[in-house]
Symmetry: C2
Subunit: 225 residues, 2 copies
Amino acid sequence: MRPNLREALLRNAVTLFSRSGYNAVSLRDIAKASGANVGSLTYHFGSKAKLLREVYERHTVPMNARRRELLGEALRISDADQRLMAILRAYVVPAFVSSSEGDGGGAEFTRMRAVLSAEGNPDAQAIIADAFDETSRAFIKALADCVPGAPLEGFIWRSQFLLGSLYYALINPDRVTRLSSGTVDGNDREAAVNQIVEASYASFRSLGAEVGQSTAALKYATEEK
Amino acid sequence: MRPNLREALLRNAVTLFSRSGYNAVSLRDIAKASGANVGSLTYHFGSKAKLLREVYERHTVPMNARRRELLGEALRISDADQRLMAILRAYVVPAFVSSSEGDGGGAEFTRMRAVLSAEGNPDAQAIIADAFDETSRAFIKALADCVPGAPLEGFIWRSQFLLGSLYYALINPDRVTRLSSGTVDGNDREAAVNQIVEASYASFRSLGAEVGQSTAALKYATEEK
DNA sequence: GCCCAATTTGTACAACTGTACAAATTGGGC
DNA sequence: GCCCAATTTGTACAGTTGTACAAATTGGGC
């Protein structure tokens, strides 16, 4: 009996899946990375799809719990703009930071989610939908309350962009480094979190200013259809 | 001799790759979709990697050409805000709209790029870096000129988020439909383009208001509305 | 020390992969 | 009508995949 082979297998699965996707990683790759045999995977998890499901559930629960916890704190802020900012941080931070000490880390799992959602793996897609939409809805509602009177459609789309930004920052951090000729470190996750939060803060907040000054450019956009 | 089997193979390759990624699609899948034999693929392209490269080059050139064309038009706008908006459209629109009539369509190719970049395929990664960074740099420079005095770092990150938003909107449009309980159609690409442009317009424009404060909320708190 | 269930290993299997290449087919130029 | 190069097909190959299952190993309870 190994110390806890099962845990090691799960950890290495996240790492490898997040690096190369679901299809490109074989059960033998995971076994080899864990210093174990292929059979141990079928023994512990039954199938590759069930392994994936187990990985998901292992990280999903604490991450969403943390998000809701931080969301609760954020909702106690009375100032709408500061609350908006806090809500955004409550959504983004748990995706980048390790949720429970010692696991693979939130960023690695989030990156895995990003890769799997792109791959269009049917198993993953179903699990994502089940596990995350409820939380996303709660956040959208909270965000919408910060900018009263704005159309819901804008919040839905911007929450989509927020997730896409988050995913791509984890998938392709080197592009940031490359584009800046090394000036900016794309792998600096603290900077990434701050930039994402600030950028989406501006995009959400602008939903409220639909009828005001400097709408000239906005008009330009909607006219040109 | 077939009408133009070669073209059909390329078209179907984009479609299938964009749907399930590079690894999950076999040459036999592509051949079958084209009503042809596996051997025709090795004959025309030599290998799977070379096929991918050919697909890339086929779409990359006209898409970037279109982007630069629209960028040139945008740069003739004197008003900084309207120019900012036009530059963003010049970047986003060619990614969604078919570049040359009759090909697979810009959105399908862009979606393929998104999936491949997530999969971390080495071939694709190299091609992306070669082909797109130069154009991206030109856009970042143009954007930065619209918001003078703002730190370059912010433009780099926001261009990353713009690309991530764009990708994710194409990868997972159904999430938008689902989150809105069917009210918003995530597959409405015209709406997606407008939303992306408006959201990133706000995020880029907000860079100008920065005066060294760490968070926008703090800045807002100390400002007068 | 022995037992027995839990675990781990080893191996076999059919299906599928990308690639290679000989054979068959095609169709325009003469 | 025939030729010949271009194209398409068919098939074979070695390697990898997920899964199944018998055999070997482990280690705590007695």
